[in-house]
């Protein structure tokens, strides 16, 4: 059959080796750029490669990176979550409120302060709040078919205002009798690497495995790639869509707990404009806003690149006012790169 022969030729032309596959990944090129910057900075600025600075960089991007993993799931389904910064704010404030129990009824501090239970209660409540806010986002988007942009824009305002309501515009910084334990979780380090960074690494691997090796992960990609096809295949697309917003909200809360532990205090301004940085990290890492493409390693490396550049610019003595300009350029640049790549395909 001549048609089959012709096909074989066509196929052998499009067959990709491992190397070709690697270079077609955006996260690969971002990694190369990251190494390049580190390489240059190593020679230009001694302080860059100091142990302290590297520790700072990795810890700083961990908070964004954790949120970016959640955002990756949302963006793979062709959604967007603009509320992550505000979710971080309100969950951080909730965590602080239950740690600093002076504004709560007396029975709570009496009962919960025993043996440091209150620390776990506070963390649990913060995570629960994050997941619940995500569930509200997800329900409105998946079941009521509202646009993700509008729903999460609304939630961005609502969650930020709830942070003000909950905190009553106060700062929480007295974290009770077992405060050291809480500081240690978010601010401590193991083997010279910040706990937040360890958590980011673990979550990157864990959620990466979920995306690649579970049917849930496969369905997340399917929903983003072709929702109609996914539905016709019998996939519960509504639940998949709702679940990614729960993941995003939960990861914003995880990041909030870590950052509050590290800073040792929390105000309602926590996470302000973080959504921009989180989306930037995710998109720079190769997630496609049109859906169907993305991965947790991309989120990790995207967050790392942004923080490294920020740090490098500071070290190079460039006015920090310029940071937003660079951030914006990177977002647009990443999307443009994606477009160029698609055209080539």
């Amino acid at each position: 059959m001549s048609s089959v022969k012709f096909n074989q030729e066509l196929i052998s032309k499009t067959e990709k080796t491992f190397l070709q596959k690697l270079v077609s990944e955006q996260s690969f090129w971002v990694s190369v750029a990251l190494l390049g910057i580190c390489f240059v900075m190593y020679f230009v600025e001694d302080a860059f490669s100091s142990k302290d600075n590297l520790f700072n960089i990795t810890r700083n991007f961990s908070f964004i990176g954790i949120m970016a993993i959640g955002m990756t799931f949302v963006i793979i389904t062709a959604g967007i979550d603009l509320s992550v910064g505000s979710i971080m704010g309100v969950t951080g404030v909730i965590c602080g409120l239950f740690l600093d129990a002076q504004y709560l009824p007396e029975w709570y501090s009496k009962a919960a302060y025993f043996e440091g239970v209150y620390v776990w209660v506070s963390i649990f409540l913060a995570l629960l709040a994050g997941a619940l806010i995500g569930a509200v986002n997800g329900y409105l988007i998946a079941y009521l078919k509202l646009s993700p942009f509008v729903v999460t824009l609304g939630m961005m305002a609502i969650a930020r205002s709830l942070a003000l309501v909950v905190s009553n515009n106060k700062m929480f910084y007295e974290f009770g009798p077992k405060d050291e334990m809480f500081y240690e979780i978010g601010g401590g380090s193991i083997f010279g690497v910040a706990n937040a960074t360890w958590l980011l690494i673990v979550l990157t691997i864990l959620m990466g495995l979920v995306l690649k090796y579970t049917s849930y992960g496969k369905h997340v990609y399917a929903v983003g790639s072709n929702k109609k096809a996914a539905e016709l295949s019998g996939i519960n697309t509504r639940w998949i869509e709702m679940s990614v917003y729960i993941i995003s909200g939960l990861f914003a809360a995880i990041s909030a707990v870590m950052i509050v532990g590290w800073m040792g205090s929390v105000t309602n301004a926590l996470g302000y404009t973080y959504e921009l940085r989180v989306i930037a990290a995710t998109v720079i890492g190769g997630a496609n806003l049109m859906g169907g493409v993305g991965g947790t390693f991309g989120a990790f490396i995207g967050a790392a690149l942004m923080e490294t550049i920020r740090n490098s610019l500071l070290m190079a003595g460039i006015d920090p006012y310029w940071q937003g300009t660079f951030l914006g350029l990177f977002i647009v640049g990443a999307v443009w790169l994606e477009k160029v790549k698609n055209k080539k395909n």
Binding site: H219, L232, S233
Partner: protein, 246 residues
């Protein structure tokens, strides 16, 4: 022996009568071509058999049981698979992932269930081989030709052992060379003893692979006869209304 028999199927969308009492049978491993002009009710009928719509009235007897599908998944469970016009594939996933979409092979115990990629690659490779298609399991659907996409869509139907495959315009929007490939794929299904209901606008396709011809016009069946007793001229006349009915 008939595998599917439609009895007086009617379908109204409000005041519009899409189907005004259509009855016909499909026998085991028979390929039936369903033709008709735009708006004749072909797709509506297919969607009723596939479980997308419930008919306003009439009975569907499938595999000797009266069936009442609520959702497409119900139809699939009883052994009816559908190849949709737009193929319903996910471009960003591999051929194998598309074949197994929604019914992945998994290993392990919950919550530690993970996808068994080797098994899925192997099985989908076998299915492509059975269909004599050169599609490779690990290729992304995005990079595939129309014919290869068809092979993926048809391979999906072979995962279970369906008794009936419905195909909506499988040869629309692909090149002439690929049409030949798709018609071969349909013949393969027939060799496996699977009945096929083929909707097509393309007269040559129907006359090449089908045994029986059914023509709808304005929601009414105007012809049901064996292909060997018919001709393309007659079919054209029936579709356009130049010939009233036979």
């Amino acid at each position: 022996m008939s595998i599917l028999s439609l009895k007086n199927i009617k379908m109204n969308f409000g005041a519009i009568q899409a189907l005004t009492g259509v009855s016909f049978d499909i026998n085991q491993s028979e390929t039936v071509g369903l033709m008709g002009d735009n708006g004749a009710g072909k797709s509506t009928l297919l969607k009723i058999i596939a479980g997308n719509f419930k008919p306003s009235s009439g009975d569907i007897i499938f595999d000797n049981n009266e069936v009442n599908f609520e959702k497409p998944i119900d139809a699939r469970k009883s052994g009816i698979e559908v190849v949709y016009q737009d193929l319903a594939l996910c471009n960003h996933l591999t051929a194998a992932s598309n074949v197994f979409l929604g019914r992945e092979i998994q290993k392990g115990i919950w919550p530690f269930k993970y996808l068994d990629y080797p098994a899925m690659f192997k099985k989908s490779g076998e299915l492509f081989e059975e269909l004599k298609s050169e599609t490779r399991p690990k290729d992304l659907v995005m990079q595939m030709s129309g014919g290869q996409r068809q092979a993926v869509a048809i391979a999906r139907t072979r995962l279970t052992n369906p008794k009936l495959v419905l195909m909506d315009e499988p040869t629309a929007a692909i090149s002439v060379r690929q049409v030949a490939e798709v018609l071969d794929l349909i013949k393969r299904l027939k060799d496996q003893g699977i009945a096929v209901l083929l909707i097509s606008h393309r007269m040559p396709d129907i006359f090449e692979v089908c045994e029986k011809l059914v023509v709808l016009r304005r929601g009414e069946k105007v012809c049901e006869k064996m292909i060997k007793d018919s001709s393309t001229e007659e079919a054209t006349g029936l579709i356009t209304g130049a010939i009233d009915r036979v």
